[in-house]
């Protein structure tokens, strides 16, 4: 058994998929270079108000109720990819018959997904989840399923042996839909259709009833092929394709967006579509790439628009890398919002393009006796929010650098789960506590008074409590390094106890031997 998924009025459906609120309105899709733009496709509502393909854009614009959208090949390719994703979620053997048609082999799928009518309904529902209104037909032969999908709207299941009866009422034009854009083929199809019309053949039942020999004498092998199709008995082998794992969605805007809030609405739609496609292929994503096409400065200034280089739209790229594969449109939206808040595009947005890098879902099993750890999705969002508060470089985990230089560390992304495999061979018992140092960042510049060459008094103007007479001292300890580089350092270091007004505190005092100056680097606490 075979199923065919057909998307009627594909260019309009591709637009509806990105802008679902247009479904209730009259919509026309135009293409071509200005000022020679022509209407390419219309929906049913637009047809009722007199808009037809072939009209010029200027003519169509006279209708006030009409919404015009440019044809977007990227949206159509995304809709086609979504169609293939939908088909592949039910069968590994899928034929990419046309941009709007996919045929899949359902042999043996009953044991997985239930009876054939159930499968057909599931395909219909999944396509709707992906934003596509489709016709689904199931038949014994692929071409019979394709004809039924093209001719009968909704879900159709043709029992074996009843193909001829089920397809009989369809008009003969259905045999010629989906022909290639080759001019010769189109002319040949038009000639055959005109011949059949002259003979009074209006539907497939009439064509199927014609005598084979007489038909072959008049129309040749093509006539016989059409008759086999009309009887629903044409059998062939499917040409399966493997759908590329490319998950991209785009939307071109009628007017440029300036604020981030309306951008979030559009991003939400794109993310939901991408997540639905990924879910249908049982995949997650670990990287999201957002590309915004921005209005260039020259487009504000008509005079400078002459310069082609300057008038080219600017692109703004942001990449969101996730620590683990995830699939949550709301989470992605929040992360993108936070990222765009921290890094605004800086110009009105004309086009949004979003791509997801697919990854296999994370396979992890929690244990009853494992210590508590934050949920990765929640943690990612929390870290993004905190990064928005304190800055991206000021939140994360620490990594020490292999040098004796002070403050030799760098911040890196906090990924506790990835580090869970760290070999922990340290002793489980209590370790002896060590004196901790609290750093002053930046170090406090102080004035040091020496008596008989010994440290006697420290005064800090910036921090009043870091001053007083030196009660006790130990040092100096001299250290230097990186002398072969520009960032050479050399210093003398003391541990000192300062008598304040009411207490005594321990500090680390440093004398910079290269740049001069005395600093209090931190306090022992």
């Amino acid at each position: 058994m075979f199923a065919c998924i057909f998307v009627p009025n594909f260019p309009v459906a591709a637009v509806f998929r990105v802008e679902p609120e247009l479904r209730a309105r009259a919509v026309a899709i135009f293409e071509g270079k200005p000022p020679l733009e022509k209407v390419f496709a219309v929906n049913e509502s637009a047809g009722r108000v007199g808009i037809a393909p072939g009209m010029t854009k200027a003519q169509a614009e006279l209708c006030s109720e009409l919404t015009l959208r440019p044809r977007s090949l990227l949206q159509e390719s995304a809709a086609h990819a979504a169609l293939l994703d939908c088909a592949q979620s039910f069968s590994p053997c899928v034929e990419d018959a046309a941009a709007d048609t996919a045929i899949l082999d359902l042999t043996g799928m009953e044991s997985l997904f239930g009876a054939l009518p159930e499968i057909a309904c599931d395909i219909f529902r999944r396509a709707a989840d992906l934003g596509l209104d489709v016709n689904v037909a199931v038949a014994s032969y692929p071409d019979a399923a394709a004809l039924a999908a093209h001719g009968i709207s909704g879900v159709t299941v043709i029992p074996p042996g009843e193909e001829g009866e089920s397809l009989g009422s369809l008009p003969v034009e259905v045999l010629f839909t989906g022909t290639s854009e080759d001019n010769d083929e189109q002319k040949e199809s038009a000639r055959l259709l005109a011949t059949l019309e002259r003979w009074g053949i209006r539907n497939l039942r009439a064509l199927a009833a014609l005598p084979e020999v007489a038909l072959s004498e008049r129309l040749g092998q093509e006539g016989l092929r059409l008759q086999q199709l009309a009887r629903g008995a044409a059998s062939r082998t499917l040409v399966p394709v493997e759908a590329p794992a490319v998950f991209e969605e785009a939307v071109e805007l009628e007017y440029p967006i300036v604020l981030l809030e309306p951008l979030a609405f559009l991003l939400n739609r794109l993310l939901e579509q991408i997540c639905a496609r990924l879910a249908s292929r049982a995949l997650n994503t670990q990287e999201l790439r957002l590309t915004l096409e921005l209005e260039s400065f020259s487009s504000f200034n008509q005079q400078s628009a002459i310069n082609d280089q300057q008038s080219r739209p600017k692109r703004f790229h942001r990449t969101l890398r996730l620590p683990i594969p995830m699939l949550d449109a709301k989470l992605f939206l929040k992360l993108l919002q936070l990222d765009l808040n921290a890094h605004p595009p800086g110009a009105p947005i004309l086009k949004i393009h979003l791509a997801a890098e697919p990854a296999r879902p994370r396979s992890a099993q929690g244990g009853l006796f494992q210590p508590p750890s934050p949920e990765p999705e929640k943690l990612e969002l929390t870290l993004a929010r905190i990064a928005g508060l304190v800055g991206e470089a000021r939140v994360g985990s620490l990594e020490l650098l292999d040098t004796h230089r002070v403050e030799a560390f760098r911040m890196r992304r906090f990924m506790p789960e990835a580090d869970s495999k760290v070999n922990r061979q340290k002793s489980s018992g209590e370790e002896q506590s060590v004196t901790a140092l609290r750093m002053f960042r930046p170090p406090l510049r102080v004035t040091v008074t020496l008596e008989n060459g010994e440290l006697a008094r420290v005064v800090c103007t910036k921090k009043k409590e870091v001053q007083g007479s030196v009660l006790w001292k130990a040092g100096p300890w001299r250290s230097s390094g990186d002398w072969w580089e520009r960032e050479a350092w050399a210093r003398d270091e003391w541990d000192i106890a300062l008598q304040n007004a009411d207490s005594v505190a321990l500090y680390r005092l440093v004398h910079n031997l290269l740049g001069g100056g005395w600093y209090v680097e931190g306090s022992y606490d």
């Binding site: 494992q370 210590p371 508590p372 750890s373 934050p374 949920e375 929640k378 943690l379 969002l381 929390t382 870290l383 929010r385 905190i386 508060l389 304190v390 800055g391 000021r394 939140v395 994360g396 985990s397 620490l398 990594e399 020490l400 560390f409 906090f414 506790p416 580090d419 869970s420 760290v422 922990r424 340290k426 489980s428 209590e430 370790e431 506590s433 060590v434 004196t435 901790a436 140092l437 609290r438 750093m439 002053f440 960042r441 006790w472 001292k473 130990a474 040092g475 100096p476 300890w477 003391w494 541990d495 106890a497 207490s503 005594v504 505190a505 321990l506 931190g522 306090s523 022992y524 606490d525």
Partner: protein, 288 residues
């Protein structure tokens, strides 16, 4: 029908809302007093005004919080450890051992495999000290506030702490206010501490606040005051010289006094803020 929600509204004569009603969006219904039906249910009040109020004898006893090691044996002996799901305040002046205790607690928590956070109001954490104390840096999230004014830092700290508590899953969350002036730290409203206390309740997280003076009031379950004691600096010197040069000396130990000022963990009347117990612990200088 589930039991009624016991609240202070009982005393004000407002109708009680039942859990199921609230969940299903129905308006709250007035409870029919048990006395009016002529049936007395054992374990309930005879007074109709108190119908629905759970008697004290039937109230569930809140389980004692789980205590975890602070990483310093003497401190554990004093306090019994650090309580999960509670706010613990550690206060003291500069050089009183607050950071040492914090790093010891972090080391103990990361050794247990827990993820920990330090929300650092003044950006004072020293990675070398943390490593020397045994903290596993891969499990430590460091939020560095402190690039702007103290008020701004405080705001960042509170918002970050709120987000982290909401996120959950951390074994220890430390709020380091140790270098903020007390007058700035006192700007934190008590409602915020109450909010933190409620957020951390019934979670396995230890919420630790490092500060100069106690500022959380009754919201903290444990208040430990640290300070130096007597001749608290211990140094190693070469005894061959009567007056050794300063470069021959080395800071080896600091003797710190810990005072348990308040503990709400033991089931007894709250003790006064006078000194209750003393304990000392030594810290040795690490070689950087």
């Amino acid at each position: 029908m589930s039991s009624a929600v016991v609240s202070t509204s009982a005393a004000q004569g407002r109708p009680f809302a039942f859990d199921e009603d609230v969940a299903e969006g129905r308006p709250p219904q007035r409870v029919v007093p048990a006395i009016s039906t002529g049936v007395f249910i054992p374990g309930t009040f005879k007074d109709a005004r108190l119908a629905g109020v759970t008697p004290a004898s039937r109230l569930a006893v809140r389980p004692a919080p789980e205590m975890v090691s602070s990483g310093i044996a003497e401190m554990d002996a004093l306090t019994g450890g650090l309580p999960r799901g509670c706010l613990t305040e550690i206060c003291g002046p500069a050089s009183s051992g607050r950071t040492t205790l914090l790093l010891a607690a972090l080391a103990a928590a990361t050794r247990r495999g827990e993820c920990c956070v330090v929300v650092d109001a003044s950006d004072t954490l020293d990675p070398q000290s943390a490593t020397a104390a045994g903290v596993e840096l891969e499990r430590l999230l460091w939020v560095r506030c402190g690039e702007s004014s103290p008020q701004k830092c405080l705001e960042q700290l509170l918002r970050a702490a709120d987000l982290l508590l909401e996120s959950g899953g951390f074994g220890l969350i430390a709020l380091d206010l140790g270098d903020l002036p007390p007058q700035t730290a006192r700007h934190i409203p008590l409602t915020m501490w109450f909010r933190f206390r409620r957020a951390v309740e019934h979670t396995p997280t230890v919420l630790l606040a490092i500060e100069r003076q106690s500022i959380a009031g009754s919201c903290s379950s444990l208040l430990i005051k640290l300070g130096p004691q007597g001749k608290w600096i211990k140094e190693s010197t070469n005894s061959q010289f009567p007056a050794p040069p300063t470069h021959a000396q080395l800071l080896t130990e600091m003797e710190i006094t810990a005072e348990l000022v308040r503990s709400r963990l033991e089931r007894k009347p709250v003790r006064s803020a006078e000194k209750t117990r003393f304990q000392s612990f030594n810290v040795s200088r690490f070689q950087s």
